[in-house]
Amino acid sequence: MRDLELNMVFDPSEVLRPSSFQDAVETLDSSDSKIVAGNTSLYSLARKGRLENIKKLVDISKLGISYIKEAESQTSEEKKILVGAGTTFQEITSSSLINGRPEYAGLKEALNKSPPQIRNVATIGGSICSAVSFYDLPIVLFALGTTLKFFSKKEGEHLITIDSFFQNPALYGKSLLIECQFSSSPNSASSFVKLCRRMSGYAVAMTAARIKLDRTSREIDDIRLVIGAMTKTPQRLNQVEEELRHKEPSIETITRMCEKSADLVHDIIPSVHASTAYKKRVLPILLREAITTAVERATER
C-alpha cells in the first residue's frame, strides 16, 4: 500500500540505472533527478519537502564505485588509499587497509558511531555529498586531507581537495563523486572525539585531528584539526594548527592552544541540544582530547 503522506511530497516516477559516469551526469542535467546511493537520507529530505520536484532517481550502484584499495604507485614514505564513493561504512571498517592502523584510527571511530543498520548501507560518497556539518565521517576525512575525484559533464574526471569542496559544496551539485583518496605517512595518526546525547546519534559537537610527528625531534611536523556540528559547514582550525606546528606536543602547550580555540571560531551556531555558549565551552575540551589521543597514537608507532 502506498504511503500517501510521503507521496504528497515525494513521487518519483522512474529509477534510472546508468552504467557509465557520462550517462550518470547526463541524467543530472535536469532539475528533476536525484542521485541515490545508500538512500539513508532521502526519505527524510523528502519529508522536509526538499524533493518535491524529483521525478527521476539515479541509482549509482552499477557504476563500479564500491571498492577500497591501495594506489598502484606508492612511495615507501606515503601510502595512498583509494575508496570508491559507493563503498559502505561497513566495507570500509572491515578492510585490512584501515584496521589496526593508527593513521586511520579516527576514521574507524567515526564510522562505528552510526548503528549497524546504517553502516551496512550508507556510503562514503553520500556522507560527503550531503555536505552537512553534523555527519561524523566527513569531519575525519577533512582532517585526513582527503582528495575527492568528481566527474562532471564539463570537466570529466577531476580532483579537488576536501577543503575546497566544503568552501562551496553547491558548486558540485551536478557532479558525481566517484572516489576519495587519502594517504598516510610514517609517524602519523588520527583521532575523532564526538559529544552526543546517545550512542548512535548526531553530534552536539565534534573534533578530528591528524598529526604527524617529526621522526627525530618528535615535534609536531604537520597537523590538521577540524570541527563539526559547530559551524554551518565543517571547519579547519588553521590558526590553532599554525601555533602547534613545529612545537613539542607537551600537554601544557596543547592545553594552552586549545583554550584559545573558542575565541578563534567566530561563527558557532546553536542547535536544539546546545547553545553557542555551551559549544564554546566544550570546544577546547574536545579538541585537547583529539590532539592528545592522536599524539599518543603517533608516538606509539
Binding site: 500517501l4 507521496n7 541515490v36 526519505y43 551496512n120
Partner: protein, 166 residues
C-alpha cells in the same frame, strides 16, 4: 495527481522467490507488511530512529523504512517469519534464549532484536558483551532495560556453539 508507474522487483523473502511491482518511492517496510503480509516487521518512527523495522538484507540488518523496495532487486530478505528451529514450540535458539531470559515485555522490539542478534551470531559465534551491545545499538527497547536482551544473546551464542560441536 500521483504517478502510477510501476517497477518490477524480484527477490527472495525467507527462502521463497517473490515477484512484485512497486512505485519508485515505496519502502521495503510497506511492501513487506502491506503487500506480503510479514507482520513481524514493526513500525515506530519511519525515519531510522527506533530500529523496530529491521530486516536482514543478504544477511545484514537494514532499516526497512529507509530502504526503497526497488533497491532489493536480486537480494535475499529475512524477517522473523523465516526463523525456524527444531526445539520447543519450533523456536530457534535465539528465540528460546529470549523466552528463558525474559528478554521481552511488550515484544514490540523483539523481532528486530532477534534478527540483529542472528546477523551478529552468524558472523561472530562468540561475541563479547560490547560486540553484542554494538550489534543491538540500532534498536530501541522501551521495556526491558536491555540487560536481559544482552544476556539472551550470550546464551543463544552458547547454545548455537554447543549445537555445532555435537
Amino acid at each position: 495527481m500521483l504517478n502510477e508507474t510501476r517497477i518490477k522487483v524480484r527477490f527472495i523473502l525467507n527462502g521463497e522467490s517473490r515477484n512484485i511491482e512497486c512505485m519508485a518511492a515505496d519502502t521495503l517496510f510497506d511492501t513487506l507488511r502491506d503487500s506480503l503480509g510479514t507482520m513481524s516487521v514493526k513500525q515506530g518512527c519511519d525515519f531510522g530512529g527506533c530500529g523496530v523495522c529491521s530486516v536482514l538484507l543478504d544477511g545484514r540488518p537494514v532499516y526497512s523504512c529507509l530502504m526503497p523496495t526497488w533497491k532489493v532487486e536480486g537480494s535475499k530478505i529475512e524477517t522473523l517469519e523465516g526463523l525456524k528451529g527444531k526445539e520447543l514450540m519450533n523456536l530457534d535458539a535465539i528465540q528460546q534464549a529470549f523466552a528463558t531470559n525474559f528478554a521481552q515485555q511488550c515484544g514490540y522490539c523483539t523481532p528486530a532484536m532477534i534478527l540483529n542478534a542472528k546477523a551478529l551470531l552468524e558472523r561472530n559465534p562468540n561475541p563479547s558483551v560490547d560486540q553484542i551491545k554494538d550489534a543491538l545499538s540500532g534498536v530501541l527497547c522501551r521495556c526491558t532495560g536491555y540487560m536481559p536482551i544482552v544476556e539472551a544473546v550470550m546464551q543463544a551464542a552458547m547454545m548455537r556453539r554447543k549445537k555445532t560441536q555435537v
